[in-house]
């Protein structure tokens, strides 16, 4: 099956500044795809080249098999939800939602019905006659969504749509956006700098740094098997430890500083298998503090608690292990009966070779 959106070697230069470098991307019909990265990584520029607001310096963008070169934004089968929502303040909610239907041949009554349906879909049924500038942030966001979706685009582009909302509202809208996307079946491309948001919502994520795609994968792969130190750092927390890598036939053997030896599978090295000095990564929740009397069949290292950060449901410990210069960050659920350890407590740390990720460099 040919992808709905196909980017080949897309570059964007502003003078000497390279905003996008050699972007290759395939996005499938019906996918919820996210462009994730720190600010200035080019994710918004990439979205705007797809929307037609920025011309590419080189490379091709195809949507539904059609080359988009020279096609202006108003002739592309894409619609966009802007970061500022760009809800027209001089129009009513219904006029906003019906804005794109000006050239639609349907009758006035039919269009009004379509507008009402779109408003109901985003939970704003009956709001049509309100003035747009009197709406709250969340409501504006819904108007912007309805306004774009009513045109039944092939692709809906969302530029940091949730960044202006408070935390509670953001979480609610995340769920609603997923539901909406399943309901309409339209391909969504979301730009965000919030890794949690991307993990929660997306089918696939492209992580971007400095105009390049660092890794493109589904959320679980991205989290569990980051291909580089950069991706691992950007998504969630990760302990990095120096290690020595040896290949023995098919087996890959690592000697992790402070923790000891272990064998890993090839899939635990998505960035390739270096030989000699390397870095391994371990997520805080794959490590465990062994409280008094607890036994384990996993490997164990000795350490001293260096820092304790209490989060309510979780406690994050920094534990100093001999042979490693930075303390290990360990996340522990605050289960019933578990104490919160004090700084300076001697403790044992359990770790598992299956959770290791071998990172190049």
């Amino acid at each position: 099956m040919t992808p709905l959106i196909e980017l080949k070697g897309v570059e964007k230069h502003y003078g000497d500044y390279h905003a996008l470098r050699g972007i290759d991307l395939d996005i499938r019909q019906g996918e919820f795809f996210s462009l994730l990265g720190p600010s200035g990584c080019g994710k918004t520029t990439l979205l705007r080249t797809i929307a037609g607001f920025e011309a590419v310096s080189s490379g091709t963008i195809r949507i539904d098999g059609r080359d988009m070169k020279g096609v202006a934004a108003n002739h592309r089968p894409t619609n966009m939800v802007f970061q500022s929502y760009a809800v027209f303040p001089h129009l009513s909610v219904a006029e906003n939602v019906g804005f794109g239907l000006r050239r639609d041949p349907r009758s006035k009554a039919e269009k009004a019905r379509a507008v009402e349906q779109a408003l109901e879909m985003v939970g704003l049924g009956g709001y049509g006659q309100r003035r747009a500038h009197a709406l709250s942030g969340g409501q504006r966001q819904r108007v912007a969504l309805a306004r774009a979706l009513i045109l039944e685009p092939k692709v809906l582009l969302l530029d940091e749509p949730l960044s202006a909302l408070d935390k509670k509202m953001r979480e609610q809208m995340q769920v609603e956006l997923i539901r909406l996307q399943r309901q309409v079946g339209i391909t969504f491309i979301l730009v965000t700098h919030d890794q949690e948001e991307a993990l929660v919502m997306s089918d696939r994520i492209a992580v971007m740094f400095e105009g390049e795609i660092g890794q493109m994968a589904d959320p679980e792969t991205l989290y569990r098997r980051p291909a580089s130190k950069r991706v691992a750092e950007f998504i969630g927390k990760m302990n990095f430890l120096p290690a020595d890598v040896r290949r023995d036939g098919g087996a890959i053997e690592v000697d992790v500083a402070g923790l000891g030896r272990g064998a890993i599978a090839a899939e635990q090295a998505p960035g390739g298998v270096p030989v000699g000095a390397a870095t391994v990564g371990l997520r805080p929740e794959t490590l465990a503090i062994l409280f008094e009397g607890e036994a384990t069949d996993r490997r164990v290292a000795e350490g001293v608690v260096d820092e304790v950060v209490y989060y309510g449901d979780m406690t994050y410990y920094d534990v100093r292990v001999p042979g490693v210069d930075r303390p290990l960050n360990i996340a522990m659920k605050n289960l019933i009966g578990r104490p919160v350890l004090d700084v300076g407590t001697k403790t044992r740390v359990a770790w598992d070779e299956r959770a290791l990720v071998l990172l190049p460099g």
């Binding site: 108003n74 804005f99 500038h133």
Partner: protein, 270 residues
């Protein structure tokens, strides 16, 4: 706050200083005496009646109105170009170009008057008429229009127009359907200000006016004839009233524009 109170007293006194001359206008406009001096004599409306029958004055008023309307239109059009360009992307020399267009704001008016007079009369050998005044007034009013419209255009979210284009409108129709209605209050405000400036401008008009003088040039002539002074007072009263009304309207539209763009009001003109 003691400091605030004494400052406040000073500010009020300052306002009295600002308004002192203007308060006199209606006093003498309705005063039944030819000499402009105290004590006042009695109430009359004869100076206003004399205004209405003064053909030369009415002709100069017509000239000035025509010049002011044309100036308002041209200055606002040019101002829109510059303000919109200023709110858009960077281009080489942007600061210098906009600064150059704003230059008449700080140029002595006599320089503008003299230089245009030389070009029109001596270099091009043209006769002076209303259009020479319009050309000069457009030049000095454009910076004011830019200053007013800058507020309107810069408060505009650039993604508004993009959103309209994204929803199927062309560049031009996006401008017409979204940007124009949103900056309309600024446009009206700019036209009113340019109109008011042009209507009142004397220094340049005196140099460039043709056979038919503008109203300020005509008033200048009247000032030499003491017998005509009460008529000038009556005219001044009408002009002040007109200016205040126009300004109130301009201010109303400017604020409405701010409210539309969802911006908190921060100040007055300029």
């Amino acid at each position: 706050m003691k400091k605030g109170r004494s400052l406040g007293t000073y500010a009020v006194l300052y306002l009295v200083f600002l308004y002192a001359p203007i308060v006199l206008l209606p006093l003498f406009a309705f005063n039944d005496a030819t000499i402009i001096a105290f004590p006042l004599k009695g109430f009359t409306t004869q100076w206003f009646e004399a205004l209405a029958t003064n053909a030369a004055l009415l002709q100069s008023l017509r000239n000035s109105l025509f010049i002011a309307v044309m100036t308002a239109i041209f200055a606002t059009l040019l101002g829109m170009c510059a303000a919109r360009a200023g709110a858009m992307a960077e281009f080489p020399g942007k600061k210098g170009i906009i600064g150059f267009v704003m230059l008449p704001l700080v140029l002595p008016e006599i320089i503008v008057a003299v230089s245009l007079l030389i070009v029109l009369r001596q270099v091009l050998g043209l006769n002076l008429n209303n259009w020479s005044v319009i050309a000069a007034h457009t030049l000095i009013c454009t910076p004011f229009s830019i200053a007013i419209l800058n507020g309107a255009f810069q408060n505009l979210d650039p993604s508004m127009e993009e959103a309209a284009m994204d929803l199927g409108e062309s560049r031009w129709s996006a401008f017409r359907l979204v940007t124009l209605p949103l900056v309309m209050p600024g446009i009206i405000s700019s036209m009113l200000i340019a109109f008011t400036i042009s209507l009142d401008e004397f220094i340049i008009a005196f140099f460039l006016t043709g056979a038919n003088p503008t109203m300020p040039v005509y008033i200048w002539g009247l000032l030499r004839f003491p017998a005509q002074l009460p008529v000038v007072m009556a005219l001044g009263t009408i002009l002040v009233t007109l200016s205040v009304v126009l300004l109130v309207i301009a201010e109303y539209f400017r604020r409405r524009g701010m409210a539309r763009a969802g911006v908190k009001d921060t100040g007055g003109f300029l």
